[in-house]
């Protein structure tokens, strides 16, 4: 009877022991060290090409924007120049007599002020 109970106890304990032993897991550090050792952890993640593409896109957009801004500034300067030329033309059309009769203000200062205001 006692022999049978010892046998049963041993059997139960062995079952428990092996059950616990099966639960043992290899630490993740083993895998990490292994892949590092073999150079297998150079993972090309999906976002890396996306990131590079975004960088190129941002740089290109920046260049386009800069170019466009310069173009706008040039066009604006051209328009300003045209306005200034228009009023300069008007001033040059005034005769000396006009200046003498009406004074310097309506003859020169007013067109120049208008030109400046337009610019």
């Amino acid at each position: 009877m006692r022999e049978q109970s010892v046998e049963q106890q041993v059997s139960e304990e062995l079952t428990n022991y092996f059950e616990q032993a099966r639960q043992v897991k290899c630490p993740p550090s083993m895998k990490q060290n292994l892949y590092q050792h073999l150079g297998l952890n150079r993972t090309y993640k999906w976002f890396q090409p996306a990131l590079a593409f975004s960088m190129v896109a941002v740089c290109s957009l920046g260049l386009v924007w800069h170019h466009q801004k310069q173009q706008d500034q040039l066009e604006q300067a051209e328009r300003d120049m045209q306005i200034a030329m228009h009023y300069m033309q008007k001033i040059s059309e005034k005769t000396l007599e006009d200046t003498n009769t009406l004074g310097i203000k309506p003859a020169i200062i007013v067109p120049v002020s208008k030109s400046m205001a337009q610019i």
């Binding site: 010892v6 046998e7 106890q9 041993v10 059997s11 304990e13 062995l14 022991y17 092996f18 032993a21 099966r22 043992v24 897991k25 290899c26 630490p27 550090s29 083993m30 895998k31 060290n33 292994l34 050792h37 073999l38 297998l40």
Partner: protein, 163 residues
């Protein structure tokens, strides 16, 4: 190729670790042994083969046996050093690095080879008889006989301990 390799690592790492841990009783050593086995697998990755599992267990077991042999030599060397001196080797020297405790751990540790490996690989890793036979270079019938003897031996030593 690296996908195949990573699959092998994921599939076998826990089983190999359990085997190495049961054989060596030390987590760090078990981790090193498993890592070495996978490095060897990487070196022969071009060869492939359908017995990868058996091969991995064989390499792991052999490495564990090497470590146990080295440990034994180191212990014998220690004994030889203290013979004649007043300092007696402590009990802890023998169980150095051994984290497995309890009657069962001790009884498994005391099993002879290939009984110990076979028992652990069958009971802990749940390997089939065929994989066991391939791992230990035994025939199928030899594997079954040895496994039966291993169980008997373990049962006997535990019954003695519990009696």
């Amino acid at each position: 190729m690296s996908i195949w390799y990573k699959l092998q690592v994921s599939k076998n790492q826990h089983g190999l670790y359990a085997l190495a841990y049961q054989m060596l009783g030390n987590q760090l050593e078990a981790e090193d042994v498993v890592q070495d086995a996978f490095i060897k697998l990487w070196e022969r990755r071009e060869q492939g083969g359908k017995y990868e599992k058996a091969w991995l267990y064989k390499v792991t077991r052999n490495q564990c046996l090497d470590i146990l042999r080295r440990r034994k030599h180191a212990y014998e060397y220690q004994i030889a050093q203290v013979v004649g001196s007043d300092v007696a080797p402590s009990a802890s020297d023998e169980v150095i690095n051994d984290e497995l405790s309890g009657e069962i751990g001790k009884a498994i540790k005391e099993l002879d080879e290939p009984y110990k490996s076979l028992l652990v690989m069958r009971e802990v890793n749940g390997l089939s008889y065929q994989v066991l036979a391939d791992s230990l270079d035994l025939s199928l019938s030899q594997t079954k006989v040895y496994l039966h003897r291993a169980r008997k031996q373990l049962q006997k030593s535990l019954e003695k301990a519990y009696a």
